[in-house]
């Protein structure tokens, strides 16, 4: 120090050098790194755009229907028919109600426009997916965080409770819930299902918390005087976000399949409302005569679930830099060469 005080120029020079180094090493924040890695995952980006497109298309076609509370809110979509309209049946050469320009997905045996029905069903599926994801994600995170952080008897009680819920088959829970609240519409059904679909996530979050709480930065925060709440939310949770986001995303596709499954066996969305599952269930007999009644809902279920899964996959790769992707031969040949400064030459 004393040497530096005698020679202020030396301090300036050292500062300048440090600033230069600082400029060179300025990096990306973790968020930017994750975004960059996600954008490099082509199937995931494609799926994300596809899912956004499907959501906008479905909602704009079918309109928004909220029959929650006393006054139902309804915004009409751009498709001229609704699920209750019964237009005149169009005859084709071999069968009735086949796809035409007027009814691109065909018509069901009653004459209802099938495009309107499928759009309505997809809308329901997306709502169910989001609500189950939100409730399941929230409860799973809280339960997992608390038991992982506090350990001891809190952990034992919460995890045994989790185990208890896991032991009840999902289909039975769903059947009971569907039987009770299926006629109230899709939103209450999704909320109740969400209350039972957090178990897997809570175990993952607990594991993550158990390992993160042993890290030295948590001790450092404790020494600095941070409360348990601050340590959980400010220090540990942001570090567990990767795991949470990824598994909630993967939970979403499970949620779609759960709702479709329930509606298929008749415990989900009740008539006159429809969902993709109930459409398949209603028209499975027409597979041989009018297969379009069977194809369209199925194709939509597969596309939505698949694209959600791809997004989850991309997120997992983005959050876990240890997973290296294979480098193609072309990329290896294309690469440039960077030679550092030779320290032996100065």
């Amino acid at each position: 120090m004393s040497e530096n005080n005698q020679n202020p120029n030396a301090v300036d020079a050292a500062d300048e050098e440090r600033d230069l180094i600082a400029k060179e090493t300025v990096g990306l924040s973790q968020g930017q790194l994750i975004r960059k890695r996600f954008l490099n995952h082509k199937p995931a980006v494609f799926s994300l755009f596809f899912l956004i497109f499907v959501t906008l298309f479905v909602y704009s076609a079918s309109g928004i229907h909220l029959n929650w509370g006393a006054t139902p809110i309804t915004v009409q979509g751009w498709w001229p028919y609704t699920i209750t309209d019964i237009p005149e049946t169009v005859f084709c050469d071999t069968s009735v109600g086949c796809p035409t320009w007027q009814h691109p997905f065909g018509q069901d045996p009653l004459g209802r426009d099938y495009f309107a029905l499928v759009m309505r069903g997809a809308e329901q599926s997306i709502v169910v997916m989001l609500i189950i994801g939100f409730f399941g994600g929230f409860i799973g995170t809280v339960v997992g965080a608390i038991s992982g952080y506090f350990r001891g008897w809190v952990d034992a009680v919460l995890m045994r409770f989790t185990d208890f819920i896991i032991t009840i088959p999902a289909i039975i829970i769903g059947a009971v819930i569907g039987f009770r609240v299926g006629n109230l519409g899709v939103v209450p059904l999704a909320i109740y299902l969400g209350l039972f679909s957090w178990t897997g996530l809570s175990r993952l979050v607990r594991g993550e918390f158990l390992s993160l709480r042993e890290r030295e930065f948590v001790d450092a925060a404790r020494v600095a005087g941070a409360s348990n709440r601050r340590i959980i939310f400010k220090h540990i949770l942001p570090n567990a976000m990767g795991v949470i986001i990824v598994s909630v995303t993967l939970m979403l596709s499970g949620a779609i399949l759960l709702e479709t499954g329930l509606s298929y066996i008749g415990f989900g969305v009740q008539a006159p409302d429809v969902s993709l599952g109930s459409l398949i269930s209603d028209y499975q007999d027409s597979f041989t005569v009018s297969p379009w009644l069977f194809y369209w809902p199925g194709v939509l279920i597969i596309l939505i679930a698949l694209s959600v899964n791809f997004i989850g996959d991309g997120l997992r790769d983005a959050f876990d830099p240890r997973q290296r992707r294979q480098i193609s031969r072309k990329e290896l040949l294309k690469a440039t060469f960077k030679k550092p400064a030779d320290p032996t030459q100065n």
């Binding site: 120090m1 500062d15 440090r18 600033d19 600082a22 090493t25 300025v26 990096g27 924040s29 973790q30 890290r215 030295e216 930065f217 001790d219 450092a220 925060a221 404790r222 020494v223 600095a224 005087g225 941070a226 601050r230 400010k234 220090h235 942001p238 570090n239 976000m241 290296r324 294979q326 480098i327 990329e331 290896l332 294309k334 690469a335 440039t336 060469f337 960077k338 030679k339 550092p340 400064a341 030779d342 320290p343 032996t344």
Partner: protein, 549 residues
């Protein structure tokens, strides 16, 4: 010994490059060296110099995003670009590797005997009984106690040193002509390290194999190497015999590297600073700390009946090998661990049995710097927030004022002010450790606990870090408990030294008294085992030690 000069490994214009995001980054550039039978070549360099990558690349053991070029000949046979079948024939048979961490390099689900037998039967057409016989022979060769029963033990049943011996036995299974040892002693305690180095020297003489030693530890190099190659950023900076490099280094980098290595017994005098009537900053009395029993794992007493005092402005070095309980003492001293019995007083206030509220008050007088710079900072927080957290939570400042204080602290640890918006992963290990100090000093504590703060740093970074710590201590006059396994580092800093073994305080006293005239046999052994980075001195010490044994 005419065959002793036979060239085993010849490397010419050898380069290793890694593909990262469309650019080839070189890890080793135009290396040239030869290792002869019965000779040890040490490749020395700091982290990131390419020493490990270059050694793995010799037998094409690198990841798919790496490429090698040039020529590598083992006993005259070209290894780069040869077929995989041919490579397999040479790996293990002619060229064997010893890795840094024996716990991860040995497969935990197989016995060590199984793993040695596997290597033998891969290369020779021998029956299982014969191979087992050979495995026992090898374990005897590496002086593993009780080889007949050890052969059926699993890696976790052996100590660190024994595991490393088993690894060496596996490497020697096929009488390789070249042994590549990548930091073979870095994960080991000094006394164990001394034994392993001794073993490697004996084996090299006995089997007349060539050894390529990769290490950052100049002490180990001085003890073992015949020739030295110094690397920096992938370039070969200097090559020469051990004598040339240690006594007449030509390149400024080599000189700088050697100057940065702390040498035991060469530090400046540190006169006592403690006043007789001063109240001690930290007072431990008959401290016992126990890790409670968990399921079938019995309770473990990590610290037994330990008493230690630290006075204001004093640096006390707490030295011991792994498992001695030194880290436990440090963590207990700031109330991170429950106390079984005894007392811990900070500025006269009792920590043992204090409530959370009392604790947070007492903790304001303390700060701690952790061992691992990668884990001690929250990766999701900008470092400015990490540094400012103690100030914010103590309610001393917020907003603009807090930012200013954080910037002042950064200035104090010689980091640019603009760094407060950076994230930990954008900083080097040494910089992160400075941030750790800045955070520990945020509340201008009376007591700083430094838990192995330099063990993850390169020597030159360590030297700068220690200078900084000394400067800050001279300026702010805090007391410091410096926990370390490295006697040479403690030598530079400490006024007093306390030595721990198996949870007990073995010896404590003034620095010079402990280092120059140790009374306890354990302390004597510890000091004798520290390798000195000077080949001539190290040879004399070795002979003296062997004579005494």
């Amino acid at each position: 010994m005419t065959s002793a000069r036979e060239a085993i490994l010849e490397v010419e214009n050898y380069s290793v490059e890694f593909w990262v995001d469309g650019v080839w980054y070189p890890a080793a550039i135009d290396m040239n060296f030869t290792v002869n039978a019965g000779q040890v070549l040490a490749i020395v360099g700091e982290s990131g110099s390419g020493k490990s990558s270059s050694s793995m690349g010799l037998m094409s053991l690198l990841a798919t995003n790496a490429r090698t070029s040039g020529s590598v000949r083992v006993k005259g046979i070209e290894m780069l670009g040869t077929s995989k079948a041919n490579l397999r024939k040479y790996r293990g048979k002619e060229v064997a590797y010893i890795f840094q961490e024996p716990m991860t390099a040995l497969n935990p689900v197989y016995t060590i005997g199984f793993q040695i037998i596997e290597t033998i039967r891969n290369h020779f057409n021998v029956g299982p009984t014969e191979a087992r016989q050979r495995a026992i022979e090898l374990l005897t060769l590496v002086e593993l106690p009780d080889p007949e029963t050890s052969v059926d033990k699993f890696p976790h049943q052996l100590s660190g040193g024994q595991r490393q011996r088993a690894m060496i036995a596996q490497a020697l299974a096929c009488d390789p002509s070249l042994l590549i040892a990548d930091e073979p002693t870095t994960a080991l305690d000094v006394t164990v390290q001394a034994e392993i180095i001794e073993l490697m020297r004996n084996l090299k003489d006995k089997l007349n194999s060539a050894v390529l030693l990769i290490t950052h530890d100049m002490g180990v190099v001085a003890d073992l190497a015949d020739d030295i190659l110094v690397m920096k950023d992938g370039f070969t900076v200097e090559t020469g015999t051990a004598d040339q490099i240690f006594n007449r280094p030509q390149h400024p980098y080599t000189q700088q590297l050697l100057a940065a290595v702390p040498k035991l017994g060469f530090a400046q005098a540190r006169p006592s600073v403690h006043l007789d009537n001063a109240q001690p900053v930290l007072e431990l009395q008959n401290l016992v700390i126990e890790y409670p029993k968990r399921g079938r794992i019995p309770a473990f007493t990590a610290v037994k009946d330990l008493s230690l005092t630290i006075f204001p402005g004093e640096i006390v070095g707490l030295v011991g090998e792994s498992g001695s309980g030194k880290t436990t003492v440090g963590r207990a001293a700031i109330g991170l661990l429950p106390v079984k019995s005894g007392s811990i007083k900070i500025n006269g206030q009792e920590i043992a049995g204090a409530t959370q509220k009392e604790l947070s008050g007492i903790r304001r007088a303390t700060g701690i710097v952790f061992q691992d710079p990668a884990s001690s900072l929250n990766p999701r927080l900008p470092i400015g927030e990490s540094i400012g957290e103690p100030i914010l939570l103590a309610g001393l400042a917020k907003g603009e004022e807090l930012q200013r204080k954080v910037e002042d602290l950064l200035e104090q640890v010689e980091l640019p002010r603009a760094y407060r918006n950076r994230y930990p992963h954008e900083l080097s290990g040494g910089q992160r450790q400075r941030v750790g100090i800045a955070r520990a000093l945020a509340l201008t504590p009376d007591l700083l606990i430094a838990d192995e703060p330099t063990s993850a740093l390169d020597v030159s970074v360590q030297a700068r870090f220690l200078d900084l710590l000394l400067e800050l201590q001279a300026e702010l006059k805090f007391a410091c408990l410096f926990i370390s396994h490295d006697l040479a580092v403690v030598d530079i800093l400490a006024h007093r030294i306390a030595v721990m073994q198996n949870g007990q305080l073995v010896e404590a006293g003034m620095r010079d008294q402990i280092l120059k005239n140790p009374q306890d046999p354990y302390t004597q052994r510890l000091i004798a085992a520290v390798p000195v980075p000077d080949p001539a001195v190290q040879r004399a010490r070795r002979e003296a030690r062997l004579g005494r044994d």
